[in-house]
Amino acid sequence: MSEVNSTFTAQENTKAGGRVSRPSAVLRARQDRAAQRIFFAITILPILLILLVTIALFARALPILEAHSLSSLLLGEVWKPNNGQFGFLPFIMGTVWVTIVGVLLSVPACLLASVYLAEYAHNRVRAVTKPILDVLAAIPPVVYGVWGLLAIVPFVDEVLAPFFDRWLGSIPLFAVTQPTGFGILSGGIVLAVMVAPLIISVTFEVFATVPNDLRHASLAVGATQWQTIRNIVLPQVTPGIIAAVVLAASRAFGETIAVLMVVGNVPNIPTSIFDSAYPLPALIANNYGEMMSIPLYDAALLGAALVLLVVILIFNILSTLVLQRFLRRKWA
């Protein structure tokens, strides 16, 4: 005990510059106020940063917004920077297609897995699953891209494309339009795996907000566990699940490297899941090298980043607000 005391005095000694005394209450109160101010200044940085990113991108994209109307940029179908034609539509549609395919592939499996983890699984199963999801979330995008390139693209090319061609080829949505595996479906499959940890962990948290009393009441009157989930739990959490899916969609919307490596990068408006696409993030990443050599090109690419940012901000703010309300909800 005395040892502890002496280390304390030694510390105070050096701090107070030789005098053997603790800092006065006034000094400590002043220190507290100063710290509070500094911490406050740092804490508003995130809010400022969102504004700063938006303003900086807007400022750099301004030249292209002045040269072309917004509608001709967003709805233009021709991308020829050398001729001064900057139509974003093929890229926007590419992003939308890849995102939709990815989310549609991911959501059913993830929801089922998440319901299982939240409602059925033994603690041991959860303990094993958590590190698996952590690792899935930790794997860098570029590694997902390599996996897509080595496993998914050949799989789409050799297995899925012939299968769809044989059985569903007459439906335009599933028409096999090109002989490589690079395309929306490959990008979607890679994205589906990438967003899985996010969907599962968020929906798991959402399920956990439903009080056990409700489940017990339902089980007590003789419902099976699935009936309880279907009729009691799911209706309670629907908004939370939708928010989680929107959140995942916005994550998929901005994914760059992994998608870029498997999606083919051809600026067409897709009509089939086997088409190549050229998502917005890939456009930005692929062309940063030459953007300074063509007039307005840099403004156009930073404008593309701005489009990406605005869409994602809207998705994100909405879904986060819903989730915040949801996870904080107090149950009577």
Binding site: R28, D32, Q36, F39, I42, T43, I44, P46, I47, L49, I50, V53, A56, L57, R60, A109, C110, L111, L112, A113, Y116, L117, Y120, T129, I132, D134, L136, A138, I139, P140, P141, V142, V143, V146, W147, L149, L150, V193, T224, W226, Q227, R251, G254, E255, T256, I257, P281, I284, A285, Y288, A305, L308, L309, I312, L313, F315, N316, L321, Q324, R328
Partner: protein
């Protein structure tokens, strides 16, 4: 009799449904877990054959990108520089934010606003941070450099680290805080001496989580850190990074170079997994020194 029959039929149907749903849920979980197995297997099976000691011990020599000798030490070192710098910088900001949220804002309305803004920042894709960094560099007349890469990576890591810290810190038992306050500590003293010590395992996990995210991020450093075949010696010079090394080598027309790209992906995966498991181990170790 009729009612009993009906009851029996319904009984069977709902129990069949139960068994069916349970089976497909298990299947779904297996698919997700299987995807991880598939990814790791692919990366190891294709990366391991071309993983040599030269890869991790040498910088690219002349003709490396045509399949001649050399390695990617420049990228490994560069990535460590970038991620370490970015993590330290992010830490400088996120620790105060997390402590402020705990000590002063709590679950108040402003606390929710700050958390919302952090969640929104988390959702901004790294390519947008990269473009933002690039826009700033154009305004300031800067060139691609290690420093620019570090700053942009810090922005990418900041929300991840802060929210992860916040999630553990806000779960701290109030008793400890109350005890310290009752002894006359100021809020700042409680935050600095009690919260940081008690929550050290969680804070460490948050920092390493952000480090792992930072080291694997390619889109943000693409514009800002550049690429070079040498090991960077200055903050103002460009630097190579591991994700970009993978990316560039995969685009090569030479199969040998592409094979090395797979090996580089394996190296990156190993580093990320080591960080991930290391943080688990470390936080379990540090948990010994907290008050239970």
């Amino acid at each position: 009799m009729g009612i009993k029959k009906l009851q029996k039929k319904q009984f069977e149907r709902r129990h069949l449904m139960e068994a069916f749903m349970k089976t497909i849920m298990r299947l779904a979980l297996l698919i997700v877990a299987g995807a991880l197995g598939l990814i790791l297997w692919t990366i190891i099976a294709r990366g391991l054959p071309s993983l040599t000691w030269d890869m991790v011990s040498q910088v690219p020599k002349g003709g490396y990108y045509m399949g001649k000798e050399g390695g990617i030490l420049n990228a490994i070192i560069g990535s460590i520089y970038l991620a370490t710098g970015g993590t330290l910088l992010a830490m400088l900001l996120s620790l105060p934010i997390a402590l402020y949220l705990k000590a002063y804002l709590g679950d108040s309305k402003w606390g929710e606003y700050v958390r919302l803004s952090l969640d929104v920042l988390w959702g901004i894709p790294s390519i947008v941070y990269g473009a933002f960094g690039f826009a700033l560099m154009l305004m300031l007349g800067m060139r691609a450099s290690l420093l620019a890469g570090i700053i942009v990576l810090a922005l990418v890591e900041l929300p991840i680290m802060t929210r992860a810290m916040d999630e553990v810190i806000r779960r701290m038992p109030a008793d400890l805080e109350h005890a310290a306050l009752a002894l006359g500590s100021t809020k700042f003293e409680v935050a600095l001496h009690v919260v940081t010590r008690q929550m050290l395992p969680g804070i460490t996990t948050a920092i390493l989580l952000a480090f792992g995210r930072g080291i694997g991020d390619a889109a943000s450093v693409l514009f800002t850190a550049g690429y070079t075949d040498r090991i960077t010696t200055s903050l103002m010079r460009p630097t190579a990074s591991l994700p970009l090394a993978v990316f560039f080598q995969l685009g090569s027309p030479y199969p040998q170079v592409r094979e090395r790209g797979y090996a580089a992906a394996l190296i990156l995966t190993i580093i990320v997994l080591l960080v991930s498991f290391g943080s688990r181990w470390l936080s379990a170790r540090l948990a010994r020194y907290t008050i239970k």
